[in-house]
Symmetry: C2
Subunit: 514 residues, 2 copies
């Protein structure tokens, strides 16, 4: 049995069941070993950003670690941006990165690069395997690391000879170390703060998509505190029947208003809110300088235990219908197309328990009021702010939940970063409907330039903000990848196309000219 074979056996024995791959030559023995194990599902992505983004989406919807297969330093570089998003989402991912045979590294082969440097820049755990006989134990540790602290990026660098040289047997990942907890004294102090009028409890992580959200609602209702969630979250529940929770906004000025006058801000599973960027003349953080900030439980600590400990201190109020978002389905509107109406139509037509991957960027702000009126669904957002997350995440989410409809809200600028994921949707027959908001430019940049205090846009800036001359034809791009597509420019067209997509299984794309 060679090292590659022990790797695949170790992954399987450790509960890793899916591998998103874009392999190259240095991973050929791993590919050969995968051939012996059809129980490992291999999903080909035509670009490594699709690989890492899919692993992220898969984890967000299952809590299970996926493996990726990446090709040396440049291949890892291509995966970097969506690993950044995955890291910020606290998704557990095991990257298997091939490298040259260890004895080959002293020569100047074209693909020789700094595998360790590029992986350490985004991974929580990185190791270069030194011996075929250590592949199994290293891989088991990688899986364990990916599951530690609520989800981490673990990267195992596998020199080609460790894959093909003789090894002995597989290993099984141990349980990750227990999560750290705040002290009882800290819980008691936070509870006292939450009982003070004007307090806010801000939660994130699993609390946004599990019964922990109900618990948080009951305990904040018991003590009279506000319950809030960050703007960007790996996954949160939204729509009819979902427990009511305030959500932070994108702009720091809006968040300053939201948080103004709070007596304390207790953080559980999240860090101190910060502006997406710093802007001249604005603070980095939106919280009121008079508010007491209590960092009770960081994102890598034991959120579950902490919320239960808070509940034990504060009690749990009974929830009433008023604590849940009421059913208020909009009716699809007709006439000229507006983003607000599109949001309502999506809400009206999207089935219950859909998964909505939101990379609509500037469009999403206009869509959100309508979307809040949809049936209950999960929302995945761009946690790391690095565009190109949407289509790959949808691939992972659809593979994780084959019985749920996935809807991607995608900007035309951001969609272009990882459009290759459309092909994987077609190959795997994934039930994903992609809605492209074609404003023909980087609208976010126009707005950010103004936020930076620059209000005149000259030729060079114009050239860098506009995606026109030529216009992208998303229908052609989608069909080129094997995904059926249609372009719409009024509400009747959108409603018909979206209703049809919701009524069928399989990938679809709708280009919305807006």
């Amino acid at each position: 049995m060679n090292g590659a074979e022990t790797l695949v056996q170790t992954l399987l024995a450790s509960g890793v069941r899916i591998c998103f791959a874009n392999p190259g030559t240095s991973e050929m023995h791993f590919v050969a070993a995968l051939d012996q194990h059809p129980e490992m599902r291999c999903i080909l992505c035509l670009f490594e950003g699709g690989v890492s983004g899919a692993a992220d989406g898969y984890y967000r919807m299952t809590g299970e670690v996926a493996a990726t297969l990446l090709h040396l330093a440049p291949g890892f570089g291509n995966a970097f941006a969506n690993l950044h998003n995955a890291r910020k989402a606290q998704s557990g991912v095991v990257n298997i990165m091939g490298d040259h045979a260890s004895y080959h590294l002293r020569f100047e082969a074209p693909l020789k690069g700094d595998t360790m440097g590029v992986s350490q820049a985004v991974s929580h755990w990185t190791r270069a395997c030194s011996d075929a006989k250590k592949v199994a134990s290293d891989a088991a540790e990688a899986v364990q690391a990916a599951r530690a602290k609520g989800g981490q990026i673990a990267t195992l660098i596998l020199p080609a000879n460790t894959a093909w040289e003789e090894a002995s047997s597989f290993a099984v990942a141990g349980l990750p170390p227990a999560l750290h907890r705040p002290s009882l004294a800290e819980v008691a102090a936070a509870s006292r703060a939450l009982r003070t009028p004007g307090a806010i409890l801000m939660i994130d992580g699993p609390a946004l998509h599990s019964d922990l959200g109900l618990l948080a609602k009951r305990l904040t209702k018991a003590c009279g505190a506000r319950l809030m969630q960050p703007f960007f979250a790996a996954r949160f529940r939204r729509g009819a029947g979902v427990v009511k929770m305030e959500r932070m906004a994108y702009r720091i000025e809006d968040n300053q208003k939201l948080l103004a006058g709070a007596s304390s801000l207790v953080l559980c599973g999240t860090a101190r809110p910060a502006g997406f960027f710093a802007y001249p003349g604005l603070p980095s953080t939106p919280d009121d300088p008079d508010t007491r900030l209590i960092e009770l439980c960081s994102r890598e600590m034991d959120i579950d235990w902490t919320l239960r400990a808070l509940a034990a201190e504060l009690g749990e109020a009974e929830l009433t219908p008023d604590d849940f978002v009421p059913l208020d389905l909009p009716t699809p509107a007709e006439g000229p197309l507006t983003l607000a109406k599109v949001g309502e139509s999506i809400a009206a037509l999207m089935p219950e328990e859909a998964i909505l991957v939101d990379e609509g960027i500037t469009a999403s702000a206009h869509l959100a009021p309508g979307l809040r009126r949809a049936l209950a669904h999960d929302v995945l957002t761009i946690t790391g702010g690095s565009i190109g997350f949407g289509l790959p995440n949808a691939v992972g989410a659809a593979l994780a939940c084959p019985d749920r409809k996935v809807v991607v809200l995608e900007g035309d600028g951001s969609g272009m970063y990882t459009l290759q994921s459309l092909w994987t949707m077609a190959r795997e027959g994934l039930d994903v409907t992609t809605v492209i908001f074609a404003n023909r430019g980087y609208q976010i940049l126009r707005e950010e330039l103004a936020a930076m205090g620059v209000n005149e846009v000259g030729r060079n800036a114009q050239q860098m903000f506009d995606v026109e001359g030529p216009q992208l034809d998303w229908v052609a791009l989608s069909q080129g990848h094997g995904v059926q597509a249609v372009r719409v420019d009024d509400m009747a067209g959108f409603n018909a196309a979206f209703a049809q997509a919701m009524g069928q299984k399989g990938p679809r794309l709708i280009e919305v000219v807006c």
Copy 2:
């Protein structure tokens, strides 16, 4: 004057005239400063891999450093693979990477990442600017570093506040340090070795596309040594009238035969040849263990001086017509399509002084015999082995040489990595003809798996090698980006489409089903 303004002025004063950009919010003040300087040409690419690849192609054809504009750590990650190729091509590139305002970095903003780590993994020179008043001097040093040692990757990290805070004035890049030279004793020893029968002089870098190639030919003719070039080169001359030179092959077994029995192998501007990968049972290096290896002048040393010094020792023979590739234009063949015939047709129809960007991967081996019979042209190859180099490099080459026809030979697998570059070709009206060889899979991986000793391909491997189910439609993909395209599957179709593309200006794509 703010830091961003001094940056743009410094780049211009230092001779940087073009900026390939995919900016984000953290670079908005730089964008605003660019607006004040229309003499800096800004080229938008819809993905950062297009940015870095274009800067590489631009340098290869001009020897001039281009600037890139990249967005924080994930944006740099997206640029990483083609920076790797540029590094291996010894292309000088100045990356301007934005970052959060320095005082914002202590908070957990979504886009906070390891800007220094990811850039150091591929850059020769990296600096994070600490003060708006230092932007100018740091930028001047970055340009100088990019020009040092024959071409380097220099990355300047620019926290947003150093762009918008007050600065004083611009700076001008100093000359790079003089290149290191071998000693006269080393030159004399190498000359003695070259006079010994069976010696080989291997050259790279500017010697492959300048008059230095003629000099190398004259001195090797004078001493009776063989003259050779590596397989992968940033740029080399080929075709009728070009000086004859042996070229290394891709496979190590072929290179072992080429180098067998050599008395010595003198390296000038290149490193010891190494296998693209290590393979079980094969050596890492193809040179004969009995050959004396003389590393006279490494790639970052003074190749020009060294060749002249060798010529001074060895003399220069007169060159005769027999030392140049004779004119032997093929005639376009008809009938069923084969890659060999396509190579001949391209050679027959391609104008003199075309620029041929070769990322045909497995197809290129079959095309090469025909292409060698073309009129004189420059060839750019995938120096770092990281696929996705072709289309972006062509963008840079076409901008560098607007009066020359650029032809890209592109695999369907590799083309998918950076297909967004087609849009930039359309926007800028670049005279680029892209030929996609649609073998519907990663043919190179099928061959490499066999080279690794694995001859059976099972379901998982098949799934990872084939790009079918669905087939990519490159005509649709191209048109979606605004580039006219046609699909051909016989020689008559190819000849007509390629002749038409050669006869017109502007971007075209031909999908060759093979």
